[in-house]
Amino acid sequence: MPSLRAEELSLSIAGRRLCDKLSVALHPGENWVILGANGSGKTTLLHAFAGLRSLDGGRVYIDDTEINRMTSRRRAQHLGLLFQDPETAFPATVHETVMTGRYPQLDRWRWEGKEDYLAVDAALVAMGLEGLAQRPMATLSGGERRRVEIAALLAQDAPICLLDEPTNHLDLRHQVQILELLAGRARHPGQFNICVLHDVNLATRFGTHAILLFDNGECLHGSLSEVLNRANLERLYHCRLREIRDEGTGWFLPM
């Protein structure tokens, strides 16, 4: 059962400290949410968790192996990452793009087998893209392209999924559908997610744990009920919030 652990993790960009000596352990079955204002370092933290960025201090472990000591291929078998913005793509079809997610599972000379095609088909169906499989990426809408990226992540079949604003470009139905799917994924044995989200209410609805990044480098983390309250959120976003209680859940609206 893989777990992800940060020990005394420090990050800074251009001399500004984003997080200072963050120690946190993330376990299977949990659905983590990273919240923070614009520019507070959410993406940077996510990339640090993914081992794609040099750290200013501390260490990140998958199980008991330090992430920088793993080969990048081994790391990609444990952990998949959805980027905030996809880079402009060269011509390729939806199916080809999703198939690239299978890369870490295959040896260099092996061709994709039945298993890989099944994984891609399942990912396409999960994202409602089965009718678009042979379409060139360039002909898709922004939301469809986002779902292709998520499908590629699902096809990768990594136990740990890191997602940077997965709901970008998506309509309400697909936002909820994807967060539900991720929450369901986290209930499977051995799997968990870390999502950067902007919508506090989606976070309260689907998350189980949260990391809050304040602009002074302070980080709060813990289960949702511990850290997601009005006082913390007002301090996080620098704006007054109104909390509406409804059937035991709190909804936060800016005033």
Partner: protein, 323 residues
Amino acid sequence: MSRRPLIMLILLAAAPMTIWYALTQGSIDIGAAQLWQSLRGNMENTTTYQIIHELRLPRALSAFAVGGLLALSGALLQVLLRNPLADPYVLGISGGAAVAALLSMIGGLGIGWVRGNAFLGALTSMLIVFGLSRLGAVWTHNRLLLTGVVMAAGWGALISLILALAPSVQVQGMLFWLIGDMSYSTQPGMALLALTGGLAVSLWLARALNLLLRGENTTAALGENPVHLRIVIYLVASLLTAMAVTLAGSVGFVGLVIPHLLRLLGGSDHRFLLPACVLLGGGFLTVADTLARSWTAPVQLPVGVITALLGVPVFLLLLIRSR
């Protein structure tokens, strides 16, 4: 799904046919039976045997090798730069080769020296562009592209300068070299070897190249180091181009159009695209070169003229027909 194997089969069958076509064409008619006999090594010491083995076969194989090298290199550079307009010459490799070749011609050096210096010129240009683009900031594909394009412009200015100052008797030979000419291509061995090696390395990287289509970040996240990958592609593509220009000057169009044509026909999986480029590029240049030497015989045309004349309409037609 079944389209790619079909295209591969057609290309595999067509490649030997283009060589065969090149061997039958020329000022002396050689029938199929005679050709077959002399290819099998019979009829030694006859004129037919000599024409086939000393003139037509080396030239046809050279043309095939150069076409394959250019198309392969073009396909690699298009992924490397993430730019569909990239061709083997976009980064100034042929410019460096051309300046060295033209200077050697002015110096009155023989074809062997012109070639050797052209290869050195190409390598020099490759190292300058690589070094300059890595100075300072992060190595991005745009930085590499800009450095290469500016270097190419610089070489272009030098070429014009040399042409303007060169004695007029030498200018035609220089123009032929610049347009691309296979008249002196009699030793295909090295080029064929480079082509085989280049294809092997490229195929080894083919799946990683598929990742690179999705961008550098995604490549890194899926477990491949994009910087190492790009350095290897740059070096391989540059060496392939250097080999091609050394043998035939800067034959245009093959490296740009063949990869595009195959992408339109069979998609962008590099495990298909790269070998298909070698076969189609090679076959195309073999036919073009045969036309170049037989169309207006006894006057020989530079093959670069034919590649453009054939390539432009075919490519435009395909582009219009593909959505």
